[in-house]
């Protein structure tokens, strides 16, 4: 199906306070498309969790968003350390976030479960030492 809109975001892995810029921008873009508020909310929260994960766990990365009449597709790509056990990482409460990150309120181990819950379809491809690619689809 033809793509109506594409957005590309570079997620800076060194700037913690800028984390959230991409998802904030996505939210504005989705609002302009007049999508249902709940769809916008789900897509932007899923995007933020993915964005924060790339900053905390992978030293940054890139996000591509493709929007068609039917769905919002979010592709997050990083060249971080990869995820050794994906099913473990998907468990609620599992986190390897360091103490300094936890003191900021992250590290509950709820990010990936939230991404799965807020998207209609999610796949994770990861290779140790190479990086991680997460694809989420949210029906419109």
């Amino acid at each position: 199906m033809s793509e109506l809109l594409n957005f590309h975001f570079v997620v800076d892995g060194t700037n913690f306070t800028a984390a959230g810029n991409a998802s904030g921008q996505l939210k504005k873009n989705l609002r302009q498309l007049n999508l249902a508020p709940e769809t916008i909310r789900r897509a932007s929260i899923a995007m933020y969790e993915g964005e924060i994960n790339m900053v905390i766990h992978a030293g940054g990365g890139e996000a591509d968003v493709n929007i068609t009449e039917k769905e919002i597709e979010i592709i997050l790509t990083d060249n971080g350390p990869g995820i050794s056990d994906i099913s473990k990482a998907m468990q609620e409460g599992y986190s390897t976030a360091p103490e300094n990150i936890r003191s900021l309120g992250f590290g509950a181990g709820m990010g990936l479960p939230n991404m799965k819950r807020y998207s209609d379809q999610m796949t994770i491809e990861s290779e140790l030492g190479k990086g991680t690619k997460i694809t989420m689809k949210i029906n419109i």
């Binding site: 913690f16 306070t17 984390a19 959230g20 998802s23 904030g24 939210k27 508020p37 909310r41 932007s44 929260i45 933020y48 969790e49 924060i52 900021l104 309120g105 992250f106 590290g107 509950a108 181990g109 709820m110 990010g111 479960p113 939230n114 819950r117």
Partner: protein
Amino acid sequence: MTVGEFAKQNPLNVLCMPEAEREITGCYIGDLLSWVMGNAREGDAWVTIMSNTNIVAVATLTNVSCIILAENVTLDEQALNTAKENGVNVLSSNLSAFNIALLLKDTVV
């Protein structure tokens, strides 16, 4: 009740209130950000002691009606500016989260 009315009628400090007309429709208490993103509902007053720029992003994305900082917690100038720009109301109080929830009790039922 709106955030503006709630702030006026209760012992709360207004740190910034760019959208005073937002309606408070519930309350969520929590400091773990992913937990909040998974469970807070749109329109909730979010009571927390977590204080850094990321709470502004979380409030924007979850679309809560306001952040209420408990137990004398403050938010730095830069984070407050971000809140203003993004239409996020931020209140603070010396009360505990429990006592703030009691203030909200009669407002949201």
